[in-house]
């Protein structure tokens, strides 16, 4: 066997090992429940299946997990506001309430921005169209990031809180 063939076989073997290490994604609890129900399983087994089986990771969770840095940045910004305003979690409720009154005017909203980063048609899993008021609509998912900018007029410091958001809009469907 030639040296190049050896190399090729080694590469294929490595690939095989890599593929073997991948675990197929689990099925959803809903599917398990539906299958058991379709087999005529007793009700207690069907309802148990909804809690026993780990559901597949929802798509949106996966998409949003990419936005975790933004969520972390928002958390850091909130903490920064808390610390700069002299917040102390050990103060009594009455004291905390008065602290809020004195802190609130120090941090003022200074801007709001919405940046869309994805728009995609929805609904193929539940059916492409929804019906409202006798008319058909397409579901379109809009995903965007909302930024709120706050400023401390005394120190001049600005804080930005970024929150990932999504909403589904219904767009009238045309069949022409």
């Amino acid at each position: 066997m030639s040296r190049s063939q050896d190399k090729q076989n080694e590469a294929i073997q490595r690939l095989e090992e890599e593929l073997l290490a991948l675990e197929p994604a689990p099925v959803s609890a809903t599917l398990t429940r539906d299958v058991l129900a379709a087999l005529g399983a007793p009700q207690e087994e069907v309802s148990r299946a909804t809690v026993d089986v780990v559901p597949a990771q929802p798509v949106r969770t996966r998409v949003w997990s990419g936005l975790m840095p933004a969520a972390a940045a928002a958390a850091v910004a909130l903490l920064a506001v808390w610390f700069t305003s002299g917040g102390d979690s050990s103060v009594a409720p009455e004291a905390a309430a008065s602290a809020e009154v004195s802190v609130a005017p120090q941090i003022l909203p200074n801007g709001l921005q919405q940046v869309a980063f994805d728009t995609q048609p929805q609904g193929f899993e539940q059916g492409p169209l929804v019906r409202r008021d006798g008319k058909f609509y397409r579901q379109v998912l809009h995903q965007y990031e909302e930024s709120v900018i706050l400023v401390d007029p005394h120190s001049g410091a600005t804080y930005e809180i970024r929150v990932p958001r999504e909403e589904i809009q219904l767009v009238p469907a045309s069949f022409h």
Binding site: L15, P24, P26, V27, A49, Q120
Partner: protein
């Protein structure tokens, strides 16, 4: 006197079997359908079909034992073919659906986050293989079947199964060697 353990009912045995094997069965179903939703329907119908066939063989009583690998994979494939025939008019629309699945990062595998990019490349490379090769790779790698069992499930010869597997791995190696492409990378760019 110690109590005798209660014998496992057919439903309990099938539930246990389904919980254990369903991820790999669903993975195979996804290779022979055009969307994740269709794959779930096909898997459910195939399991019911095998249950009913076994029940019939058992004189209408609950089936004895759980499905053999070749039996369930054959059923999945046949149900998927039937679905494809029934819904030829949906083909164009379903092609769009599979694009959405890809764009939305619907994945075949569970994996630690640090391997996410590589996992996406592998999923993408698998999707690009011809269906006949994808079936064999899935059954061999994740189904754990022998070439003989694969041949029986797919109604092809053992040698054909082995050669398709070889071609598939070579194609995957070439595709992944090029660096592949992360099909959902664009979703994560803010």
């Amino acid at each position: 006197m110690s109590a005798q353990p209660k014998p496992q009912s057919a439903h309990e045995a099938w539930e246990e079997w389904f919980n254990h094997f369903s991820p790999r069965l669903l993975l195979f179903a996804r290779q022979v359908t055009r969307s994740a939703a269709d794959a779930e329907d096909v898997l459910q119908n195939a399991v019911v079909k095998v249950w009913n066939a076994r029940r019939k063989r058992n004189g209408g009583r609950d089936p004895i034992g759980t499905p053999d690998p070749a039996e369930i994979y054959t059923a999945i494939r046949r149900v998927a073919i039937d679905l494809g025939r029934r819904e030829t008019r949906r083909v164009k629309r379903e092609e769009k659906v599979i694009d959405f699945d890809e764009a939305r990062g619907i994945d075949y595998f569970q994996c630690p986050f640090e391997n996410r990019e590589r996992r996406a490349e592998i999923t993408s490379a698998l999707r690009k293989l011809p269906e006949a090769q994808r079936e064999v790779v899935t059954l061999k790698i994740w189904g754990g079947l022998t070439f003989q069992e694969i041949g029986s499930a797919l109604e092809i010869s053992e040698n054909t199964a082995a050669s398709r597997y070889r071609y598939a791995l070579e194609a995957l190696r070439r595709s992944l060697g090029k660096g592949g492409e992360s099909h959902f990378q664009h979703l994560l760019v803010l």
